[in-house]
């Protein structure tokens, strides 16, 4: 057993999952290149990236569900579009060169970062008439309320048709490129469908866990998962996801947006390097 190598895998999974849980971006897109820099093959690193996304998503979910920053109805509706798109993308894989795809994704990540970072203040404000009993989703609709410091913030997403259309398109692109797409889902939810930044991040953290679990099943069928390394990633990502959700709770929505924007720029750089 190489203890230094094992500790490095745990540490990398923890750091990337923390960042991923804050912005709802997953973190595999950063973890996988880091693992390959350490000498691991891409075919071994890719499943570990998925494991980190799933473990981080589940760990962050505990706190995010309690704070009302996951809107499951919104997640299910938009994921129907994203998953349908991803299926189309997988079957079309090879239709576009990977280089072109990576540049497109990097361009989108930078554009999303600029949009998120430029916006000032909070779109949705706390409502003094609401109590913690009001935190959660509103039955029969996509509206809800989340806990922010001592206040409760109500919200209602809009432009759903446009948003689901773009989510489907994002699904096609991510299916084509073989990436998770958390970095597309969070900004689309926040900037197009106008979810609060924290709810967009929390909801995206849930949906990327779902997407990653499907991809992991396919990799398991191919026998590509090294269980001992996956367990190390589980340990790091469970801690990282928990820490990320705690940190996110303490940050103000504008800071979450700027942190997400920073992570998007890092992701764009990774994508350009891959291209």
């Amino acid at each position: 057993m190489d203890i230094a190598r094992d500790l490095l895998i745990v540490a990398l999974a923890m750091v990337t999952s923390t960042l991923g849980a804050i912005g709802g971006l997953g973190g595999a897109i950063i973890l996988v290149p880091l693992l390959t820099l350490g000498g691991m093959s891409i075919s071994s690193a890719a499943p570990l990236g998925l494991v980190s996304v799933i473990a981080g998503s589940v760990a962050a979910g505990r706190r995010q569900v309690g704070d009302g920053t996951v809107n499951h109805r919104f997640a299910v509706v938009t994921e129907l579009g994203a998953t349908s798109g991803a299926i189309v993308g997988v079957f079309l894989s090879g239709a576009l060169s990977e280089r072109v795809l990576m540049w497109c994704l990097a361009g989108f990540a930078v554009a999303a970062a600029v949009l998120g970072a430029r916006r000032k203040g909070m779109r949705w404000q706390p409502d003094a008439s609401l109590t913690t009993d009001d935190v959660g989703e509103r039955q029969g609709s996509l509206a809800g309320a989340y806990l922010l410091d001592d206040g409760v913030v109500p919200y209602a997403p809009s432009r759903m048709k446009l948003g689901i259309g773009l989510m489907t398109l994002a699904g096609v692109v991510t299916g084509l490129a073989g990436v998770g797409g958390g970095f597309l889902k969070t900004p689309l939810s926040s900037e197009v469908m106008r979810l609060p930044a924290k709810v967009a991040a929390g909801t995206s953290t849930f949906t990327i866990g779902l997407t990653a679990s499907v991809a992991l099943v396919l990799m398991a069928i191919d026998g590509r998962i090294v269980a001992s390394d996956a367990a190390l990633v589980v340990l790091g990502a469970l801690v990282g996801g928990t820490v990320g959700a705690r940190v996110q709770k303490k940050l103000s929505p504008p800071v979450v947006r700027r942190t997400t924007a920073f992570a998007l720029v890092v992701i764009a750089a990774v994508l350009v390097a891959r291209a």
Binding site: M1, D6, V51, I54, A55, S57, V58, A59, G61, R62, R63, V65, G66, G68, H72, R73, V76, V77, E79, L80, T83, S84, A86, I87, V90, F91, L130, D133, D134, V135, G136, E137, R138, Q139, G140, G144, A145, F206, G209, L210, A212, S213, V214, L216, V217, L218, A220, I221, I225, A227, S228, A230, A231, L232, V234, L235, L238, T242
Partner: protein, 90 residues
Amino acid sequence: MKTSRIDLSRIIGVLVVMAGVTALVGVAVGGAVGRGLDVAAVTALAAAPGVRVLALAVAWVRVRDYKYAAASLALILLIIVSVIGTALWR
């Protein structure tokens, strides 16, 4: 404002602790037993998001929120079809 959280937060918390302990013991023990524990931890976590969607569908049926219950069942069906389709296609 009605919610359908069905103590999801607590259920997820228990799963996180169990998966973490299982993975930790698996890494510490090593060998065939350790590998079995590693696989169990990863499998439990990988199943969690799908089970969560299924649990939400059940919760939404209970509160007569049929539109979103149908959407979540459609999502599960779509995922199953995509996994089978992709596995066969490759």
